[in-house]
């Protein structure tokens, strides 16, 4: 302890050894402060918070520097919900004793949780607002606000006090008692709480005494009017009417029957139609949905059928193509013919007729392949072009020579065969055509002869046999016999030829004789040759 006058450390004497000041009263005041602190501490320990506050304030009045008393006062304030007052006490304590002060921990704990501090502050603001409502006589609003306050800050004693007072003011003594009892759980000996509680209980006892013995429930009863009973059941106010007629068993049964009938009628006229309409609407929706699904499925089926048809057609085309490629006259077979022709040409270079005969086999197949460029290889085309150009020329000369020999020997049928083959190989030879026509004339086939002579006239206007052909055409079949012996003489007539067109004679040059197939005038692989070139 230090001297209050000079600050020197005091000894056991009743005066200050430094300045001589009498310190007896000072010592008593210090002891008094400590006594109040101890009293406040005991009250706080038994939750007499308001009593503790009074004692601690007395202690601080005696000695403002009693740090323990001030810290405990802040703690009690905090327990009573007055967080700001608590903080203020701790801050003052901190200022008085900056070092080794437990107030540091309290302040730090409060500041470490800003959310909690904000919530407490909001509750205090609402309490002040509720108090303002009370002054404005808006008690309902005040009650609502105070309920919110107690939800946010359940230790705020003043809120319990004010809410209890408001319940008493509005005649809700049961709620008032409950609220005040809750407040007492925090502060047992709060004078204001106790006085309000006593008032509320007195009011409730008064109601209990005035309540009717029957028809009452709960803790309090009251007759509110001649025809009703008002009583409190917990937090609920129940008003029970009186003088209601006693219903007999038969009337009750009748009422039940009437109720059932009314219920059935309501079901029949109101509920069932609505349910039926609802069910019909659901069915209609389902029908529409099913119909839509059916339409979609049908469309899918049509699409799949089309695809099946397309695939079937494609399959058929591919099978036809396979058949074409692998069947008679196939590419393989044609390659085989060409290989045989090439082999024969190598082994027998002079036997061009045989080679030409083998090559003619290439024309017996389908020569109208649309994709011949794909089917025939370049080697095939080159080999065919070589053989055809070399062998055909020699074969034509050979056929012509044999044909002319047969013609001169009056063996016209053989002459026709050889000349026909020669003309098939070389359709530009007018001489062969002339003697072929003459051979037909000599064997008496005047129609064929006329046809060939007409072809000669129309297609070879510069031919040296033109006049002879015209002469025959002019004289026709009438001079047939007369002309037979003059077959080798050239006709000197310049008559107009018959009006036979090339198209009537040359198309396909299907000039068959004796069942022997004539060779087509058009080169079956002309397209191939052109492609090779």
């Amino acid at each position: 302890m230090r001297c209050f006058n000079c600050g020197a450390v005091l000894s056991g004497n009743d005066f200050c050894t430094n300045c001589g000041t009498d310190i007896r009263i000072y010592r008593r005041i210090m002891r008094l402060s400590n006594m109040y602190y101890n009293d406040g501490l005991k009250k706080a320990q038994v939750r007499d918070l308001s009593g503790a506050v009074e004692s601690l304030r007395q202690s601080l009045k005696c000695n403002r520097n009693n740090i323990d008393a001030r810290n405990l006062l802040g703690l009690v304030y905090f327990e009573m919900g007055e967080a700001v007052a608590a903080l203020s006490e701790w801050v003052i304590s901190k200022n008085i004793k900056p070092e080794r002060n437990v107030a540091d921990d309290f302040i730090e704990e409060i500041q470490s949780n800003p959310t909690r501090l904000t919530g407490i502050n909001q509750s205090l603001k609402k309490y002040n607002q509720a108090l303002s409502y009370c002054h404005q006589e808006s008690y309902d609003l005040a009650i609502i606000q105070l309920k919110k306050v107690l939800q946010m800050n359940s230790n705020l004693i003043v809120a319990y006090q004010l809410l209890g007072l408001l319940y008493i003011r509005t005649g809700e003594f049961g709620r008032a008692r409950k609220t005040l009892e809750n407040g007492r759980k925090i502060d047992k000996n709060n004078t204001l709480l106790l006085s309000y509680l006593r008032e509320a209980e007195a009011a409730l006892e008064e109601r209990d005494g005035n309540a009717l013995p029957h028809g009452s429930r709960g803790s309090s009863h009251a007759r509110a009017a001649n025809d009703s009973i008002v009583y409190q059941s917990g937090n609920e106010t129940i008003i029970q009417p009186l003088n209601t007629p006693e219903r007999g068993g038969s009337s009750t049964f009748l009422n039940i029957l009437i109720g059932l009938a009314v219920g059935i009628a309501l079901m029949w006229f109101l509920v069932l139609p609505a349910r039926i309409r609802s069910s019909a609407a659901e069915n209609s929706d389902e029908m529409v949905q099913v119909s839509n699904e059916l339409t979609e499925k049908s469309a899918d089926i049509d699409e799949l059928n089309k695809r099946v048809s397309a695939l079937t057609q494609e399959n058929r085309d591919l099978n036809d193509r396979i058949e074409t490629l692998s069947g008679g006259g196939s590419v393989v077979e044609r390659y085989d013919i060409l290989a045989k022709a090439a082999l024969n040409y190598i082994e027998h270079p002079d036997d061009v007729i045989a080679t030409s005969g083998i090559l003619s086999g290439l024309t017996s197949g389908d020569t109208e392949e649309e994709d011949s460029e794909i089917v025939y290889s370049d080697a095939f085309k080159a080999l065919y072009a070589y053989l055809n150009s070399d062998v055909s020329k020699k074969a034509a000369e050979e056929y012509t020579s044999k044909g002319m020999q047969a013609y001169e020997g009056e063996n016209y049928n053989e002459a026709i065969t050889n000349l026909q083959n020669s003309f098939n190989v070389d359709p530009t030879n007018d001489k062969v055509l002339y003697y072929l026509a003459s051979s037909y004339r000599n064997i008496g086939d005047s129609d064929k002869a006329t046809e060939l002579f007409s072809a000669l006239v129309n297609n070879f206007p510069d031919s040296e046999f033109l006049d002879s052909a015209r002469g025959y055409l002019r004289n026709g079949a009438e001079n047939e016999n007369a002309d037979q012996n003059a077959g080798n003489n050239n006709s000197q007539n310049n008559e107009q030829p018959a009006q036979t067109t090339t198209d009537q004679v040359l198309p396909g040059l299907d000039l068959t004789n004796g069942g022997q197939a004539a060779q087509p005038a058009v080169d079956p692989l002309a397209g191939i040759g052109a492609a090779v070139q």
């Binding site: 108090l131 007072l165 204001l192």
Partner: protein
Amino acid sequence: MIDFEEELKKFHPSLEVEDAETYIHNTDVIDVVDLMIQLAEASRIYEE
């Protein structure tokens, strides 16, 4: 019987956080010791 108006006067607005600083500055922390010192000082001045 409680007089509501009189009872209501016992209630005062609670301190909010914003008011804490003002409250601390305005708090009168004079204690009995201060009064005693002031009395001693006044007595000394009177004697002089």
